[in-house]
Amino acid sequence: MILSHFTALTIFALIVATVFALVTKNEPREQFRYGLFVFVSFLAVAFVVGWLMFPLPLSPYRP
């Protein structure tokens, strides 16, 4: 199976956010809100870090 970076990240964030929300919160509303916060945070941080790394040369031969 080959997943794109974004798909792999999204699935990862979804599962981890679900477990974190259930472990740390007790009320369903709190669980949903915290899970959504963790999920969105994962994606947001990935986008920010991705753009920060964008100008970095990965190789001296990079055009």
């Binding site: 970076h5 981890v16 259930l22």
Partner: protein, 138 residues
């Protein structure tokens, strides 16, 4: 059902004794989600099981690597500890020669990370079962 909670069982009035709690934790470690099922938290247990098994299966499908206990590479011990958090699925996969890891596979790194994290999540899940069994959380 607890008040306003998704749990399928009320909080036990008295905490379980330590032996029973450790048995619940051991079961939860060996079979992800089983600890919560044993203390009557069916919904939570099934969600946890689905999360861990899905992550483990995806990690293997992405050609991730399962680490053995090797002391030649000391840092691999940490990877091994993370991997065995998944419990019995780890040994089943090892027995079936899954999780060999194909470094040239495009999603190898993701797969390996999935396998690590599902084990680490299961440790958290076991601790959650411990807290519930001891009456420390509803």
């Amino acid at each position: 059902m607890a008040q306003g909670n998704v749990e399928s069982a009320p909080q036990p009035a008295t905490p379980m004794n330590m032996a029973a709690t450790l048995a619940v934790c051991g079961g939860g470690w060996l079979v992800p989600g089983l600890g919560h099922l044993l203390i009557g938290r069916w919904i939570r247990g099934l969600i946890f099981a689905a999360c861990v098994f899905a992550m483990f299966g995806l990690g293997l499908a992405m050609h991730g690597k399962l680490y053995d206990l090797e002391f030649d590479e000391p840092l691999h011990v940490f990877a091994f500890i993370a991997n065995i958090g998944a419990g019995i699925p780890y040994w089943i996969a090892e027995h079936l020669n899954l999780g060999v890891g194909t470094m040239s596979w495009p999603s190898y790194d993701y797969g390996t990370t999935y396998l690590w994290v599902c084990g680490l999540l299961n440790y958290l899940i076991v601790l959650d079962a411990f807290d519930i069994a001891q009456g420390r959380k509803p």
